[in-house]
Structure formats: C-alpha cells, structure tokens
C-alpha cells in the first residue's frame, strides 16, 4: 500500500518544482515529496521502492485528443487497447472524441464509455461529447445531460460545424454549462477531395491539395463568433501559420481561446508525403516548413497551450490503399513523448515546458483533477528516462493499429513506468 519513488528528478510545473526528490505514495495518493533519502518510516513498515535514478518523475501525461473507436470500430482500437497504448506512452488521462458508432451524443453512450473505462481501470478516460446530434451539424446535442453524465467538452471532431448560425448557438448554449467547444477547423468546401497540403509538393505528386486557408477561415469565424457570444473555444490540432497568428491575436484581446498542436505537425512537413506513404495522410495535413516554424514560435510564446496527439488508429486495410482513398490520421500515443522532447534538444522549449503542455495546462483548460503532484492528489505518475535513445518499432505498439510514419525513427526519451493511483499500469521492464 506504500510506495517510495526515490532518486528521480521530480518535475511538477503546477508547483514550479524541478529538483531531485523522493515521493511517498500511500493508498494511491501522494503523501510526501521530500529531499532524497529523507523520507522516514516507522519500524516494521516496509514500503515498495522504485529507484528512478537518471529518470524524470512527473505527473502522468494528459492527451486531450484521442480516438478510441469504441463503440463501433473495435477492429481499429478498443477502449482497453487504447488505454494500454496510452499507458505505454506515459499518459494517465485521455479525452476521447465522440465520432464513434453510435456517436457519443447521448448520456447512454457517454456512460457506456465511462463504464468500459472504469471496468478496465487502466487510465482515466474523459469523454468528449458531440456538439450536434449524430455529428450531422443540424441540431445541438443535449449538453446539460451529457455534462451530467461525465462529458468534459463538446466537439464534432472530424466533422467541423460548417453552419455559422449553428456554431453561434453552440457557443451560447455551451456557455451555460461552462464547457469548452473543441473545433476541428476546416472549411470543407475548400478541401473537398483533398488529401494533403496544397502547395508545391501536392502539385508535383498530383494529389489534390487542402489549402491552409480552409483552416484559417474557420479559426477566424469561430473567434469572431466567440467574441460576440462568450463561451470557450479550443482549437484542435492547429497546423497553419496564419491560424497560429489568429489565436495569438484573439488571446491578446482577452478571449477565452486555447489551442493544441499534434506532434506530427511540428515534426514533419508535406515533404514526407513523397513516396505516397499513407501514414503521412492526416487532417489537417502536414504543412510546410514555414508553418512548422510558426508552430514552434507559438509553442514558445504560449499561443499554443498544449500538445495533443489526435491518436487516430486505422487498420492496415484502411491504409494500404491508394493515397487518395486512405483514411486520415495516425496513432500518436506511443510516440508523443519522444517527439515532444525533440523540442528540448532544438531549444524551443525547456523540459519543464514540454511537461507542462502535456500535464498541467490541459488539466487547467479542461478543469480536470489531474496534471500535478500536489500533496494528497492521486498518484498518476510518469517515470521516463530523458536520455535513453531507442528506435521506434510500430510492431511493439500496444495500440491495435500501427499506422505511424515514425517507424524506425531514432528518438530519445523513453517511458520507464506509468502509474495510475499509485498502481503500475505500464513498465518498460515487463514489455
């Protein structure tokens, strides 16, 4: 019942902590954070000990954007396999998008997802419910009931709310319940039939492009509506230079807008599409080096609040097809940490900032009881070795799906152990 994690470098951005410390965990909660070697025990008490020498000990990571495909597409991912994948990637909390079948637009589906997650008890799962019924963009979902059932935000992810009037009302309505709207920003009439970023590379490859303006226009529209109505907007997976600037300006006007970026959008550009690997097909698409630069600036100056994976598992049958016909999206949970830590090597962010964007800030935006190591908090923890180099091997992924463009990449920063409520849910030594 008692556990000591000793000799680690404890990083807890919520409490501005970055020092060698020992952690005492009792009955699943953090009971003491003390200088190394100074936690004492009464005679006869025999705690288990984890030696975290050379490792960082931080709050378990939080991913506000995953697709676990259950109910409806269990061949791609289940809540169980998704949670295992999350744990292997160092995540102890995830928010699942509602584009399941049936769509998570009713209390019954929200409760079903929560019941599955709780039965497995691997990590914490937070349901995001639909903005509109069946994601059809016609009528608002029952937001009060959904919140009561456990929904923590609303999104029609993958099916952006195109109708301006409806989006206005969604802001007004969700405001009553103090829950954010998460928008996948894409003007669908500008991207119809598109499968990669529009630019020099799409021209060469003969693939229909998705212009960055499709994202920018919707980000601008949503900010304009937010400014009128109030409410809270979270821009999902921002990918374009101008969208970053729009969010920056909106923040400077004091609007309640936040945004996230997916690791692939600061790691790759549309050059990666050459060769037609369908694991480079995602929405929004991989953009240009200018966009990547703007994203890194946005991460640096705080315009981009958090890192979220958009973990989108797809079976090989959905990917091993013509590029144009392949499904959008890649799995991200098991590559997010090392890819984000590259930002430290590039001197874009400090290691504390990377952890903050993956722990404290998402918890803060979405009002989750997670993401910090304060005393008496549940002991959701990640222990990782920031200097250990290894090659990404998709065949070792815990996710049911292996659709990642990062197979074989040499990276640095390995998850050693993930704990939820003091219990180990993943250990590198046992895998």
């Amino acid at each position: 019942m008692t556990l000591v994690i000793k000799n680690g470098r404890v990083i807890d951005p919520a409490n501005s902590l970055d020092e060698p410390k020992d952690l005492l965990i009792h009955k699943g909660r953090i009971k003491a954070i003390e200088s190394p070697g100074s936690i004492s025990f009464e005679a006869g008490e025999k705690p288990s000990v984890i030696d975290a020498k050379g490792c960082v000990v931080c709050p378990g990571l939080i991913d506000m954007h995953v697709h676990f495909r259950e109910p409806g597409f269990e061949y791609k991912e289940t809540i169980t396999s998704g949670c295992q994948s999350a744990a292997a990637g160092g995540f102890t909390s995830v928010a699942v998008m509602p584009n399941t079948n049936p769509v998570n637009d009713t209390r019954a589906v929200t409760e079903y997802i929560l019941s599955l997650a709780r039965a497995e008890g691997i990590i914490n799962v937070y349901p995001i419910a639909a903005i509109t019924q069946k994601l059809e963009g016609e009528r608002l979902s029952e937001m009060a009931d959904l919140k009561d059932a456990g929904a923590i935000a609303f999104s029609d992810d993958g099916r952006p709310v195109m109708n301006n009037e409806l989006m206005r009302r969604a802001f007004e309505y969700s405001k009553m319940f103090k829950l954010p709207l998460i928008q996948h920003s894409e003007m669908l009439d500008l991207t119809e039939g598109g499968c990669m970023n529009e630019g020099m590379v799409s021209t060469e490859l003969g693939l229909k492009g998705m212009p960055a303006e499709a994202e920018d226009i919707m980000v601008y529209r949503d900010i304009a509506l937010l400014e009128k109505t109030g409410g809270q907007l979270h821009v999902a997976h921002i990918s374009s230079k101008n969208s970053v600037e729009l969010v920056r300006q909106a923040k400077s006007r004091g609007l309640s807008v936040t945004c996230e970026v997916a690791p692939h959008h600061f790691t790759l550009t549309d050059e990666a599409v050459r060769g037609y690997d369908t694991n480079t097909k995602m929405s929004p698409p991989l953009r240009t080096i200018d966009d990547v630069k703007a994203i890194k600036e946005g991460l640096q100056d705080g315009t981009i609040d958090i890192i979220a994976t958009d973990h989108a598992p797809h079976d090989i049958a959905d990917k091993q097809v013509e590029y144009q016909n392949a499904c959008f999206g890649i799995v991200g949970l098991e590559t997010a940490l090392p890819l984000s830590l590259k930002l430290v090597d590039e001197k874009i962010l400090s290691i504390g900032d990377v952890i903050k964007k993956l722990t404290f800030t998402p918890a803060d935006i979405f009002n989750l009881e997670a993401g910090s190591l304060s005393l008496d908090n549940e002991a959701d923890l990640l222990i990782f070795n920031p200097n250990l180099e290894y090659s990404i091997d998709i065949s070792k992924f815990h996710s049911k799906s292996k659709n990642s463009p990062f197979d074989g990449w040499k990276v640095k920063g390995k998850v050693i152990r993930t704990l939820v409520k003091g219990k180990t849910v993943y250990s590198a030594n046992e895998n």
Binding site: M200, T203, L205, G206, G209, G275, Q320, E322, Y323
Partner: protein, 310 residues
C-alpha cells in the same frame, strides 16, 4: 547504360538514360515497318498490362510493343480485375506477381499507385499513367518525336497549353524536357495552373497568343472534362475561345512549328480540325513512336541483351 528496375516517372531519369531510351527506340522503330512485324527478343517473357482506368491508345500501344518483341502480353482491365470485388490493391499486385510476370504495366486513375505497387512487388513496374502525377512513356514518346523531327532537343522552346493542373503528361514532360535542356512554357486558365508549378523551372502565362511566336513545339492538352470541378471553368465555349489552337493563332508561329497532342483530342475544343490535319501536326506520329518507345523500355528493363537484328 540502363540499370533501373522500374519506370515510375521521368523525374528521376538523367540525360544519359533518356538518350539511351530514345536511341534504343530509334533502332526498334523499323521493326514496325517490316512485313513481318515481330522479333524474338522477349520470347518467353510475360508482360501484364494492369489497367485500372480505361485506356485505348496507351493499352494497345503497350500490347503491340510487347507482342512485336514476342512477349506474352496479358491485359487486365479495371472492370475485370478483382479490385472491384474489394480486393486490396497490393493483394492484387502480389497475386499477379505470384504468376511470375517479367513486367507489370500499371495505369491507375489515382496518383501514386504504380509507386505503391513497386514497393511491394519485385518485378519491374512501368507507370502507364497515374492520376495527375506522371505519364513517363508519353513524355518519352513526345521527346522521341521532337528529336526525330528537329534533330535535337537542347535549346528548343515548347509551349504546353491547357489544363495543367490535371495533366500527368505535363508533369512528366516538364521533368524530361528540362533534363534534356528544353525551355518549357505553360499556358492555361489561372484556375488550372497548380500552386507552385513555376518552381519546376518553367514559365507560366495565361495568354495563348503571346506564347506562340517563339515556340518550336506547341503541345495542346486534353481538357479533362470528366475531372473538372464545376468551379474551374465558366464554360467550354469560353475555354475554347481562349485556348483552342486555330489557324488564326498559328499565323504567329514559326514556319516549322510542330503541333502535339497526347490524345484523345476533343476536336474544336483544344485544337481546330484544320490545325489537327495540317502538316505541322505530328499527333499520329506521336502514336506511332509510342510503340517504339515502349518496346525500348521493355527491352531495357529486361536487361537489353538480345540482338534485335533478326
């Protein structure tokens, strides 16, 4: 010499390789004029034409090329292939490969498919046109026809006119022509000029009349009516008014200008009937040379060792 496994595009071909292909095609051209149009060069070899998209000219050209070299040629068209039964594209290719063909020729309506297939099978792949990516054999037969008529390629000016965005012929021709030292000018309505194409080392304009006088070759492209989104054109009539090559335009051209069209021609839309039938038009010569160029590629991909004289 020639050491490639596949012909997926012209982008990667260097000048020496293109010259080798054109020279080899020269030597094969005569075979098609013999009373008995067959040599045993590829006897015992099997070539599969895997066409996921309808094609008359290109498929027939590959078939005749293979047969004149005595290869066994099998045609599989999109409608009769198992992909309509939802067989995975790669599985289709692997099943064909299991029957030990020596070359698979792939045509597909979507960009990238020949390259994808080449990543999964060991036998050589020839791209017979994919989406609006590349159509390398068309570009090579165009170069062959130009070189035959002009004696050289270096320094020649070509103006390519029409729907640049949806043309795989343009992309393959740009790469190959730039490699061979030609100057390429693209003309078309601004809605059909794709973003960033000038970075491929070409000049771009919208006015046909002003782009004719210094051209050694004018290549008119097929208006891909079936591929047009409804927003790209006001009307076929207006397109034709602006971009149809008529004798009026040709008055401004060099005496010895050559007129090309990759076919099939929309008569009266891209090119007027009298221009099409004029002696400057090499549209049918392109087709004739297509057989020789495809024979050359098959021969070179399969080692190029046999004597062609008998």
């Amino acid at each position: 010499m020639f050491n490639r496994k596949n012909i997926l595009g012209t982008k990667c071909l260097v000048e020496e390789e293109i010259t080798t292909i054109l020279d080899t095609a020269d030597s094969f051209k005569e075979i098609s004029t013999r009373p008995i149009k067959k040599v045993p060069t590829l006897r015992g070899k099997t070539i599969i034409n895997l066409f996921f998209e309808p094609s008359t000219r290109t498929r027939t050209s590959f078939e005749i090329a293979g047969k004149r070299l005595s290869a066994d040629v099998i045609n599989i068209s999109g409608s009769s292939s198992s992909t309509v039964k939802d067989e995975n594209l790669i599985d289709t290719a692997l099943n064909l490969e299991a029957m030990h063909p020596d070359i698979i020729v792939v045509r597909h309506g979507l960009s990238g498919v020949p390259e994808m297939i080449s990543q999964h099978v060991k036998c050589p792949i020839i791209n017979a046109g994919d989406g609006y990516h590349e159509h390398p054999t068309q570009a090579l037969l165009d170069l062959h026809t130009i070189r035959e008529a002009k004696g050289t390629l270096k320094g020649l000016n070509i103006t390519i006119v029409g729907d640049i965005a949806h043309s795989r012929v343009v992309r393959s021709n740009i790469y190959a022509m730039k490699t061979m030292g030609m100057n390429v000018k693209l003309i078309g309505p601004s809605t059909m000029i794709p973003l960033g194409i000038e970075k491929m080392g070409v000049s771009v304009g919208y006015d046909l009349e002003g782009a004719i006088n210094d051209a050694d070759v004018i290549m008119m492209l097929r208006l891909q009516k079936e591929r047009q989104s409804r927003y790209l054109l006001s009307s076929i009539r207006e397109y034709s008014n602006l971009y149809c090559l008529t004798s009026k335009f040709l008055e401004k051209a060099k005496e010895d200008v050559l007129i090309f069209h990759p076919g099939p021609v929309n008569r009266g839309i891209e090119i007027s009937l009298d221009v099409m039938e004029s002696e400057r038009s090499l549209i049918l010569t392109q087709v004739t040379n297509g057989v020789a160029v495809r024979m050359a590629l098959m021969y070179l991909l399969l080692g190029g060792k046999n004597d062609t004289s008998n």
